[in-house]
Amino acid sequence: MGILERIESEKFIFSVGFELTPNALYKVLLRTEERAELMTSYKAGIITDTMLRCYIQRLLRGFKVGQRFTHDITLSFLSVALEPFSTRFADEFIRDLSKLDVSELSISTKVAKLCLAKRDLLPKTEYRKFVFSTTAIDTYKEIDRIQESVDKSYDRKNYSELAAA
């Protein structure tokens, strides 16, 4: 059974303590093996943002107005697992979940708030790219070659973020 299936299972939810307060649940989730496993898989790219997005959307389909959300503990777990990562997805998931003010997601919203408070201690990084001078582009015959060497030498992941910016 994959990690995403396991964190949804009643066996897992029972083992972490669905009866705990949000603060206690947060601390218990921090030290689960499943958290370490999901973090490793996420870092290695085995579990991607797209996969998590689809997974969460599938869970949310079970949302019923006026009823406790079935996967409240699972969402709590995901917040705790994604807490250390500076990815855009992790940021939006935890932030958006923490901002919800609905009765149906009582526990996960509080756990997300605890995660957010922890994340706010981490530095945030922003990128901007500027072109200094267009005349340099016009006068230099080897601009294409320079562009290519920049692309190759620069960190790929970082560059795509810059390009997006």
């Binding site: 706010d120 530095p123 945030k124 990084t125 922003e126 901007r128 500027f130 200094f132 060497s149």
Partner: protein, 128 residues
């Protein structure tokens, strides 16, 4: 107002999205060239700002001003940011930075229009 922790100009910079650690590659202190004008394919000005108590959710503008030797006017590259967290880092990447003659290439950081720090790179002619 946020306090500047550090300001460094380098050829490259990277933040690991998993560990959130910053790495800077080849700090630029000196440029030597046989011919001029010389074009730097890329420089990155990295600044790190520490939040003060009153800064929460306020907007700030950090401007990178570049004084190129021989140029009358500096070029300015602003970036707006919000102090959401205790520390905020900015990587301002300048591509195709053209230097036309020897002298001091000065990178200046301003916060909301006020000078905060500068970084000077000496530009020299390389002997054949």
């Amino acid at each position: 107002m946020p306090k500047l922790e550090y300001f460094i100009v380098s050829e490259g910079a990277s933040t690991d999205i998993f560990t959130n650690r910053v790495s800077l590659f080849n700090v630029v202190e000196q440029i030597k060239s046989k011919d001029f004008p010389v074009v730097l394919p890329q420089v990155v000005a990295t600044t790190a700002w520490n939040k003060e108590a009153a800064d929460t959710d306020l907007d700030f503008q950090a401007s990178l001003r570049i004084y190129s030797p021989g140029e009358e006017r500096p070029k300015e590259f602003p970036i707006n940011f919000k102090m959401e967290r205790s520390r905020h880092r900015l990587h301002q990447t300048i591509i195709y930075l053209q230097v036309t003659q020897v002298g001091d290439l000065v990178f200046e950081i301003l916060l909301n229009g006020e000078h905060v720090a500068s970084h000077t790179v000496t530009v020299e002619k390389e002997e054949a």
